[in-house]
């Protein structure tokens, strides 16, 4: 069992990545009840935005300067795309039956993916993303990639900022009000359109942070990276209780841990020797989702809400 601390650490780091992306799903869903299917692609364009910034910088720029600039560029691109999508694709469909914006989201997801695939230079294959050079850290028997430092710092920081924003600021409270009852919020003088745009923008910014973390971690970005990660992140959002920002992070961590532990340990469970390892980890993540939905349909931290759909 000497792998256990390492597998837990792996799971938590991966889970934090899922959680950051899941924030976007959960915020948008909490306010407009829309599964923003294209959010995985918002994440992906953030990665390419950051890459573009890196390529534009003169070679040999210190990563201490480069990473913040890449982060800014990623956030900028992601946010612009997300807000543009909200304005031109989703907003006209507000009030249409539930299926219409969802199909639009699927369409948008395909379009963004194809735009990057076809028109970003050399994006038909994976593009190389910079890594933080140097040997890994050893800490109490746990090895941590140097590049993961970014995520380990960024994820809690982002959560704290978001928590403060939602609870303490005027806009944050308006956001909460809108998610509880959009009509009443509107009557109270809240500009709900602005709040919706804000939800999209915050989600996109978080996705961009996650994209930079992903790029640093795997050393590459590619046009298809949003599909699988988006799916996982949405699962995380549902798992944690959709609409709840802490739930999204918790769901992400739970999902990451499940995958890490499934890869490491399922095959040691008697009778399960054929169903372990990385090949089955996604299946186990899915099983976790089904079990949670059966036992606690509102998700881990979700509140039991009256039917809105």
């Amino acid at each position: 069992m000497h792998e256990l601390p390492q597998q837990l650490a792996n799971g938590l780091i991966l889970g934090a990545l899922y959680g950051l992306v899941a924030i976007g799903y959960t915020m948008v869903y909490g306010i407009v009840q829309l599964i923003n299917f294209a959010h995985g692609e918002i994440f992906m364009v953030g990665g390419f935005g950051a890459l573009t910034a890196f390529l534009a910088l003169p070679g040999g720029t210190s990563l201490w300067i480069a990473i913040p600039l890449m982060l800014l560029a990623g956030i900028l691109v992601s946010t612009l795309v997300a807000v543009g999508a909200e304005r031109f694709a989703y907003r006209p469909l507000r009030g249409a039956p539930r299926l219409a914006p969802l199909i639009t989201a699927i369409g948008l997801s395909i379009v963004l993916q194809q735009l990057v695939f076809s028109f970003y230079p050399d994006a038909k294959k994976a593009r190389v993303f910079p890594k933080i050079p140097g040997d890994p850290f050893e800490l109490a028997g746990i090895t941590i990639q140097r590049s993961d430092i970014f995520l380990i710092i960024a994820a809690p920081l982002c959560m704290m900022i978001l928590g403060w924003f939602v609870a303490k600021t005027r806009s944050g409270r308006a956001m909460q009000a809108t998610s509880q009852d959009p009509d009443t919020a509107k009557l109270m003088g809240i500009d709900t359109d602005r709040i919706i745009v804000m939800a999209f923008a915050i989600g996109a910014a978080f996705a961009a942070v996650a994209a930079v973390a992903y790029g640093l971690r795997t050393g590459q970005v590619d046009s298809r990276m949003g599909i699988l990660l988006g799916l996982k992140a949405f699962t995380a959002a549902v798992l944690g209780g959709i609409g709840n920002i802490y739930g999204a992070m918790l769901g992400g961590l739970a999902l990451g841990l499940t995958e890490g532990l499934a890869t490491g340990y399922i095959q040691h469970v008697p009778g399960m020797d054929l169903f372990g390892g990385a090949a089955w980890k996604d299946v186990w993540a899915f099983v976790l989702l089904i079990v949670v939905l059966l036992v606690r349909p509102q998700g881990l931290l979700g509140e039991r809400v009256a039917d809105r759909a």
């Binding site: 590049s147 590619d222 990385a278």
Partner: protein, 408 residues
């Protein structure tokens, strides 16, 4: 392929309007070619769009190059070659529709393709029924040519029209195992594959030979080819005490896998097949120094025909690189052209009526020096070329480590 109803209606309309239709267009087209020369088509089926399009376009361009050179050299007197490239998007159903399309086109004399084994499975029977020769430059699944029971020793060729210039998994995997045990002296290997036909097949044949030679597989893992996060696997490799990793799969996942291994403090080489022997593997993986790959054929420097192919390909100024399977594709097309030559020569320089069946037989007997070495086929339709090269990453380049011939 005009359909009957169109002809019926066109005659009716033309008749009703009392206009004299002046001859059929079909005849006119046949006169296009120079006197006495016939035009035959070499079909290509490969993924020309989508994720694998880079490989597919490399196949198409290489066949195109072969056809152009054959025409320029007047390789087969009185026969002009054309190419008809169809896109299968790496899926069986469109591949099968392409197969029926090529079969229906009476000028098609042979087909180069496909890239994917699953596509080949849906086409083999159709080409076989039509006696149309098919040479795949890329399929590695052993069962395609030797039947499902090959592993247990009972080989039976299911389709007589199916050939391939690529080597099967049964050659590359064991060759790698021999290298690891005999030259690199690695006895403990962690085996990883990507669950795709190519990768899983390679890993399975590697495992068989490696354990036979006395090595031990200290762990096995299987990754999703779309995954890019392998830290959980890295942890397992680390605690397994492996001396090397054998990876069955392609470079898009192998690059980050090897990188994350080394970032995770596991400094052991990763070995793979020709799926990772690509410049992109090194690009995606700044810590690839010491990783090893096998590839089929002699290294380009030792094979003048390969150097010529590369120079010609460059001179032809194709938009896309020839990629992994360019040389095999060129050889596949050239094998068909040579077969047509044989058939025509045996029939006073003209193609006989049953040219397709004759070409299948001629391909079986073909033998010439191609881009990838000697091109000829054994009784299963597999290439007899069993020369392999081991490459290792040195200073950001694949450097030749060893060349050899695989024997049993």
């Amino acid at each position: 392929m005009r359909n009957r109803s169109l002809i019926v209606v066109s005659i009716a309309v033309a008749g009703a309007l009392s206009l004299s239709a002046c001859g059929s267009r079909g005849e006119k087209k046949a006169e296009d070619g120079a006197a006495g020369s016939t035009t035959v088509t070499i079909g290509v089926d490969a993924p020309l769009t989508g994720d694998l399009s880079a490989l597919g376009l490399g196949i198409k361009n290489s066949v195109d190059l072969a056809v152009k050179q054959a025409n320029a050299k007047n390789e087969v007197p009185g026969v002009k070659f054309e190419i008809k490239a169809l896109d299968d998007t790496a899926k069986p159903a469109p591949g099968q529709q392409n197969a029926t399309n090529l079969v229906a086109d009476k000028t098609v004399i042979g087909v180069v393709g496909p890239l994917n084994s699953s596509v080949a499975q849906s086409m083999q029977q159709i080409f076989n029924d039509a006696n149309l020769v098919q040479i795949s430059p890329a399929n590695t699944g052993v069962a395609l040519s030797q039947g499902e029971a090959w592993a247990s020793g009972t080989k039976a060729r299911p389709f007589k029209s199916y050939f391939r210039t690529s080597t099967t998994d049964a050659v590359q995997g064991p060759f790698a195992a021999q290298y690891l045990v005999n030259e690199a002296k690695k006895k403990k290997v962690f085996l990883i594959d990507d669950q795709k036909a190519y990768g899983a097949g390679l890993a399975a044949t590697f495992k068989g030979e490696f354990t036979k030679l006395g090595g031990s597989i200290v762990g096995e893992e299987h990754v999703n080819p779309d995954d890019r996060d392998f830290n959980a696997i890295v942890t397992k490799v680390k605690s397994s005490g492996a001396e090397a990793i054998y990876y069955g799969g392609e470079y898009p996942a192998a690059g980050p896998l090897s990188l994350q291994l080394k970032e995770g403090g596991v400094n052991i080489p990763l070995m793979g097949g020709d799926g990772i022997q690509s410049g992109d593997f090194i690009k995606l993986n700044p810590k690839s120094q010491g990783d090893v790959a096998t590839a089929v054929g002699l290294p380009v420097e030792q094979l003048p025909s390969a150097a010529k192919f590369i120079a010609d390909y460059k001179a032809a100024a194709y938009k896309d690189a020839y990629e992994t399977y360019g040389g095999y594709s060129y050889d596949s097309a050239w094998a068909i052209i040579q077969a047509v030559k044989t058939v025509a020569a045996a029939n006073n320089g003209k193609l006989p009526a049953d040219a397709r069946a004759k070409v299948v037989a001629a391909v079986q007997a073909i033998s010439f020096e191609g881009v990838t070495g000697k091109v000829s086929f054994d009784q299963y339709g597999d290439t007899t070329n069993k020369q392999l090269t081991v490459y290792a990453v040195k200073d950001g380049k694949w450097a030749v480590e060893k060349t050899g011939t695989f024997s049993g």
